[in-house]
Amino acid sequence: MEHVAQHSDPHYDQEASKMGMWLFIFTELLLFGGLFIVYAIYRFMNPEAFQMAGKELNITIGAINTIILLVSSMTIAMSTSSLQKKNKGLTVLLLEITIILAVIFLINKYFEWGVKFDHGIWPGSEHLLNDLGKGEILFFGLYFVMTGLHALHIVVGLVIIVVALNKIQKGTVNADRPSLLENAGLYWHLVDLIWIFLFPLFYLIH
């Protein structure tokens, strides 16, 4: 009975949850890895078309979104260390900033895709299938799939951060039990990292 008294919750193992998160990140990397391979092969097969199609994308919005994500990665990292320093107010503030940045990212994405739709470009659109070449079809197909899947990950990350924020306010996530926030941070860095590859692949290589 003694050891029951010692650990109030014997099932809490901070190392384990961090390790689990890392393993999950590996699977995410392989998920996107599959897409990056597909991209690499089709770029190799259609170099000119990919180059031309890439010019259609708006580098400015892409760059702004890159900066947004980088800053949000920073704010969530800072929130983790301020939780360690038991500064709850600052932690909450930093997380709120992260959430706002993520939402701005999604709004930008929305307008970016909207412009493409206005130009008649979406997967399977008539303009794409009839007027553009096969390389362009592949480029835009991959563009929508990869940025779409990435946006989905942003949404998932947002949900996790909101949950973490909630629990920090309630006090169930705190300096002694920071796993959820740390994992949210890890996941958010992953989402950021993937974007760091998507941005040059689609917007910058000409």
């Binding site: 099932h11 384990a16 393993l23 599959g34 897409l35 096969k134 197909g141 799939v145």
Partner: protein, 537 residues
């Protein structure tokens, strides 16, 4: 003997009454043992469906021409049969049932690292299974692409493929979460003193398997997503009319699906590595060699996928490379066979049902493995690719390997899981019918394939008739054996004689806890000393 001290440990996991009553005490339970049984019962249901479809195919093939179904139906039947058997039976297979039930106990832990996630994996399993079933029940036409969902047919076929594809994706997610849970559990929760090289071989095999589940499954996941998006939006990636390359689909599919066959077989080998030393009452021969070969299989298995595509269009260099690597990946499996045989050598053999299943496992596994070498050789492969020979090969390996090991494992661990012993005579009778039926069912297919009978057709030329009759007969004998086995186990779980705590005199930790184990398995976490080990007979 230990005396129970924890209040929750006074009754077995089967009798334990938690917050929820009745069935909810099961489907909301995060106890790894109950989850293991949840998997077992849900897999049994799907298995019955799969076997029924298999029998239907064999009945169709008992004579040339149409016997009981038309060609379209046959296509649908082998597709659903394949999807069920692969994604719902052999991939979750031993890890989901015996891994969940015994991994924590064998390493001296009270549960897995993430019990809630564990339950979630089972929910995903059920959701995936329901999705696949819904593709059969609703929509216009049952999927007819084969379980491989090859492009471009998988987005040209008018049948109700989307739920099936999505179901396979969800099942993959379940598999990933189980793998993740096991890796963390093995890293974090081994009993004090149980170093890596004191860990039993079944957990070791689960460890190797879990890494494959984790690193290979997402690739097929994204590939299936792409096929689904191709169907809905025409994104073009696998559609030759839009610039895409259907061969790329095959590559991505097999990059997962070849490693996946090791997800199926490694835990089977792990279970065999527990059974053989127990029933030989001898230390396992080459403990470290078995571990090394497990890890070698897990690693090399990633680089041989091309052997499924020798006739799909590949450069000569790629073909040679994949062929050589395929030969290499056979070596670690052969090492294990060598080790099992050497373990039996001069042991005091106790030919109980688990041992019989284990020995016949080795037999059918070797036949399957040798036929795999035939398929890995370039020239021979071109001759027998997509014939009944391939069907025989993978049934010997997948059904022979996983099936025999599963039945061996259930007969081995049954007294621990249910606290009762089965009827040993009926267990052996069932085994005999099953084995004879199995060999009669699949051996003729080797011959048929070599004579040129293609697979996935409802019809064949008259000269193939005799061997097909034999094969269909075998399917009935095997099913009869299966019935005996299952009925025997079901009856004994209720009414069998009470089993001793360690009826086989095994040395691994699960035999040191009461049968059936209490909720938290151990009152005190066991400590492994210098001299302790899983096979010290």
């Amino acid at each position: 003997m230990q005396t129970a001290t924890h209040p929750s440990n006074e009754v077995s996991y089967l009798d334990y009454k938690g917050k929820y009553k009745g069935i909810f005490g099961w489907i909301f339970s995060t106890d790894h043992k109950r989850i293991g049984l949840l998997y077992m019962y849900s897999m049994l249901v799907m298995f019955v469906v799969g076997v029924g479809l298999g029998l239907a195919m064999k009945l169709e093939l008992i004579a040339p021409g149409k016997t009981i179904m038309d060609p379209g139906t046959y296509n649908a039947v082998f597709t659903v049969h394949g999807v069920i058997m692969i994604f719902m039976i052999v991939i979750p297979g031993l890890p989901a049932v015996f891994g969940n039930f015994f991994l924590p106990i064998m390493i001296g832990a009270k549960d897995v690292s993430f019990p809630k996630l564990n339950l979630l994996s089972w929910y995903f399993y059920v959701a995936g299974a329901l999705l696949v079933i819904s593709s059969v029940l609703f929509g216009n036409g049952t999927p007819d692409t084969g379980w491989t969902f090859y492009a471009p047919y998988s987005f040209k076929s008018g049948t109700n493929l989307l739920p099936a594809i999505f179901g396979a994706f969800v099942l993959g997610f379940s598999s990933i979460l189980t793998g993740l849970n096991f890796i963390v559990t093995i890293h974090r929760m081994r009993a004090p003193g149980m170093t890596w090289f004191k860990m039993p071989l079944f957990p070791w095999s689960l460890y190797g398997t879990a890494w494959i589940q984790l690193l290979a499954t997402p690739v097929v996941g994204i590939t299936l997503v792409l096929v689904a998006l191709e169907r809905i939006f025409n994104i073009g990636v696998f559609d030759p009319a839009l610039g895409g390359d259907p061969i790329l689909y095959q590559h991505l599919f097999w990059i997962y699906s070849h490693p996946a066959v090791y997800v199926m077989i490694l835990p089977a080998m792990g279970a065999i590595s527990e059974i053989i030393p127990t029933f030989s009452q001898k230390h396992i021969f080459g403990y470290r060699a078995i571990i090394a070969s497990t890890l070698a299989i897990a690693f090399v298995g990633y680089f041989v996928w091309g052997h499924h595509m020798f006739t799909s269009g590949m450069s000569g260099t790629a073909q040679y490379t994949f062929s050589i690597l395929t030969f290499i990946v056979a070596i670690p499996s052969a090492i294990k066979v060598f080790n099992w045989i050497s373990t039996m050598h001069k042991g005091s053999i106790n030919p109980e049902a688990p041992f019989l299943w284990a020995v016949s496992f080795i037999f059918v596994f070797m036949i399957g493995g040798f036929s795999g070498l035939v398929l890995g050789a370039l020239a021979a492969n071109v001759h027998v690719h997509d014939t009944a020979f391939v069907v025989a090969h993978f049934h010997f390996i997948v059904f022979g390997g996983v099936g025999f090991a599963f039945f061996g494992a259930i007969h081995y661990w049954f007294p621990k899981m249910f606290g009762r012993m089965y009827d040993k005579v009926w267990a052996k009778v069932g085994w005999a019918f099953f084995t004879v039926g199995f060999l009669t069912l699949y051996s003729p297919m080797f011959y048929l394939g070599m004579m040129g009978m293609p697979r996935r057709y409802y019809d064949y030329l008259p000269e193939f008739h005799a061997a097909n009759i034999l094969s269909s007969l075998g399917s009935w004998v095997m099913t009869f054996g299966l019935l005996i086995v299952v009925i025997n186990l079901f009856r004994s779980a209720k009414n069998g004689p009470i089993a001793e705590m360690n009826p086989w005199n095994s040395k691994t930790l699960e035999w040191t806890v009461p049968s059936p184990p209490p909720l938290e398995n151990f009152d005190e976490i066991p400590v492994y000393g210098e001299k302790d080990g899983p096979y010290e007979y």
